[in-house]
Amino acid sequence: MSAQVDVDVNAPLLHVDGLALDLHRRHDTVRLVDDVGFSMAAGESTAVVGESGSGKTLTALAVLGLLPPRIRIARGSVVFRGRDLAAAGSRELRALRRSQISAIFQDPQSSLNPAFSVGNQLVETIRCSHHDMSRRAALDHAADLLDRVGIPTPRQRLGYYPHQLSGGMAQRAMIALAIATRPALLVADEPTTALDVTVQAQILDLLASLREEHGMSLLIISHDLDVVSRIADRLVVVYAGQVVERGETRAVLRAPAHPYTQALLDAQPAHGRKGTRLRVIPGSVPPPSAMPGGCRFASRCDFAQPQCAVTRVELLTATTSGREVRCVRHADLALLGAGGVGAARGEGAGNGAAPRAALLRVTDLVKRYPSGASAISRGRGEHVAVDAVSFSVEPGETLGLVGESGAGKSTVGRLILGLTEATSGSVVFDGVAADGPNRRRPRELRRRIQVVFQNPYATLDPMMAVGRTIAEPLQAYEGLDRGACRQRVDELLAKVGLDPSFARRYPGELSGGQRQRVAIARALAPRPDLIVCDEPVSSLDVSTQAQVINVLEELQRDEGLAYLFIGHDLALVFHISHRVAVMRQGRIVEIGSAEQVYGSPTHPYTKALLASRPSSAMKQVLDATPIF
């Protein structure tokens, strides 16, 4: 295959140097990636880590030669085995992707063609590079590949269509597709973000073992330091289109040299102690059209000095650790030691809430759906989404509800809100039966239970200004007139940390975190006693996530709110909850105080869940032999 592609096998596998990418618009150009560089030897795994908008995915696309048409390489080079991909034509790039470089993406379901069976797609890929292989031999090879990525009964699965596979299976099939041509480099863009924790762990293990077997290099793009720590040898931290820190994974995680890396680590709930505020990175990434001339992180940095914002900083090599870091003060900061940056944390709310009468009591709640949506299978069987769930929530308490997707967590929330009707069982809120659809419930009951949904992009009406959205419950429940509303809206915005000027803005102009704050302000407006938080931060970046969680915790302290906090991120749920209930296949398998459940889990599923979270792998890395 390599006959078509002129590659030098002895050169470093991949060398990205000073890469800059420009978006060409009609009247101007915007620099999206400014200075990203790293080098990978054959068989090595490197992770590019950053928040959304950092340019990490664009970097991956540049390596794959798949940049969108209006984004072009402005400076720097991407050299794969001695061949500059920036200068390569589309024909050559295609040949490279056919034989040398493969990729997997975040959402495996949409990366596979829904119209063809998995077997067909594999055979097509295999015969791309083995033109003379018979279809039968290719099918054998395909089954072998599925077996290698850990798909049971591979022969049968060849006939499956993508929608018949679970998320984890689909990602495995995608990986099989990617390794079919025995690539030298596999680019994995957020390979586990869309998957459940236990599945995440399996996929990461699979990637690690494939890398060993095939001597394949792995370029991982991720926002999740935990995931990355499990699999990458080297870490490249990018911020606002620039590499800010580069080094060996263990060394970077043990003693981050750049304030941004440190802040990212501190924003993760696994690192912040329970009952403390999560560290927040103030402000937001400057927009690409208005990048400061100096250090791009300066406006958000705790250690910035006046000169930081004006003088351009190059990637420097720190003499102590052999690490490269883009910070003029890295030498001073290193003296502070690893704990120095995160040391000044505020004290959080106490957990010792005395037991009181339950605010919400759920008894034997059941929700069944007819299984199979088609008319043909109607009445044949039932799918039990929620199976005899019972729990209670006290005033001012946070009950965390964890479990993997499909466990029925969200359905429980919807049943309590009356957005879905229960098959049987009872929900009693402060002595009043909360049954029937929400719109038929007594107004007072409706007022007292509010909701914050997962997806900040869909939860606000795009055609309605933020102020009017927040005013809706005020008008509906309190009958306030316009003037009074405006004042309350300003107060509510202030409570969630937004400027009153936001009232006039539209959801499209807001970031994910800002939208989620607006959603919280709306939930807060009618002065409820309970807020059902359905994965309120799972689609946000780590630092934004910390901001929103802190807002929720402060509000609980100030207003005595109770939360039913639904989530799949164990560390996060542990951080915010007083008590935790673990759900699996519609049932609560374990419930108890957060310390109990996480410290000494009794149910095997809880143990499995806790063992598979990447943070425990990270802990092992950090607990391993000291580096210095």
Binding site: A290, R446, L460, P462, M463, A494, A525
Partner: protein, 292 residues
């Protein structure tokens, strides 16, 4: 408080949804050209009384005269000024199409809203009725209605309205079904907003875009359909003119000059192109807007 992220200092000069869409639309050159062309055509129709120097119905001796300064587009087979007749024809055709489309929009959207939001048996009844109308070609429905009620402008408009209505019912029902499931509708329910306010404040503004696009494409269809009905003498009655009746009349003398069918034909073609291009541009701006 975690105030830093909330300062509005770097807020771009965004406006409401409509302003954003207009800003995007303005960059589409073809759509802008179409808009200008349409404004000119509609303006000419509206100002027919001022622009036309000759009475459109005044018969003169100059039969089939070529363009002169007195008759800038010449005259027709009984000596009437073509320019004046085209201007009044535009006015008539647009008015008839507009009334028909407006009726189809109002009734179709209402039915679609109710059908989609209420659902259940009412939905089934309404949709089967709509399907029954849709089963016939639109022009055939319109002609059947005019055939039963008798030729005339009002009956033609009624026929067209009935023919175009099912498309609106289907569109709006589909949109409502999709939007009903949006989290922001559920959030509004939990916020205590009443059903009719949910429809008014949340559903209507969010389906307005596709409906406007549909209105524009239907306008071009209506112009053509009204032309066809007039051509067949089922709509406007002589001596008044519409673009379609001009075309029909011109057809009878096509052996002597093609001018009489060329001019009204071109106007209809250009107007249809304009409506469709505006619809395309708007659709692009709307979908770009929903992507964030």
């Amino acid at each position: 408080m975690v105030l830093a992220a909330g300062t509005a200092a770097a807020a771009p000069a965004w406006g409401s949804g409509a302003q954003r869409i207009w800003r995007r639309y303005r960059r589409d050159r073809i759509a802008m050209a179409a808009l200008i062309v349409l404004v000119i055509i509609v303006g000419a129709g509206l100002l027919a009384g001022v622009l036309a120097r000759n009475d459109p119905n005044a018969v003169t001796d100059e039969v089939l005269a070529s363009p002169t300064t007195a008759h800038i587009l010449g005259t027709d087979d009984i000596g009437r000024d073509l320019f004046s007749r085209v201007l009044y024809g535009i006015r008539f055709s647009f008015l008839a199409s507009l009334v028909a489309v407006a009726a189809a929009t109002v009734v179709g959207c209402s039915v679609g809203l109710v059908s989609g939001y209420v659902g259940g048996r009412l939905d089934s009844v309404l949709m089967r009725t709509t399907d029954a109308v849709l089963a016939f070609p639109g022009l055939l429905v319109a002609m059947a209605i005019v055939g039963i009620l008798g030729p005339g402008v009002q009956n033609a408009m009624l026929g067209l309205a009935v023919a175009f209505m099912p498309a609106f019912v289907r569109l709006v029902r589909g949109q409502v079904l999709a939007i009903r499931e949006e989290p922001y509708i559920e959030a509004a329910t939990v916020s205590g907003v009443r059903d009719r306010d949910i429809v008014r404040r949340h559903v209507l503004p969010n389906i307005a875009g596709p409906v406007i696009v549909q209105v524009l494409t239907t306008m071009s269809l209506a112009l053509l359909a009204e032309g066809a009905l007039s051509f067949l003498g089922l709509s406007v009655q002589p001596p008044a003119s519409s673009l379609g009746s001009l075309l029909g009349r011109g057809f009878s003398v096509v052996n002597e000059t093609i001018r009489l069918i060329l001019v009204p034909g071109l106007v209809i073609t250009i107007a249809c192109w304009a409506f469709n291009s505006i619809a395309d541009g708007l659709r692009e701006s709307l979908s770009a807007d929903s992507e964030g």
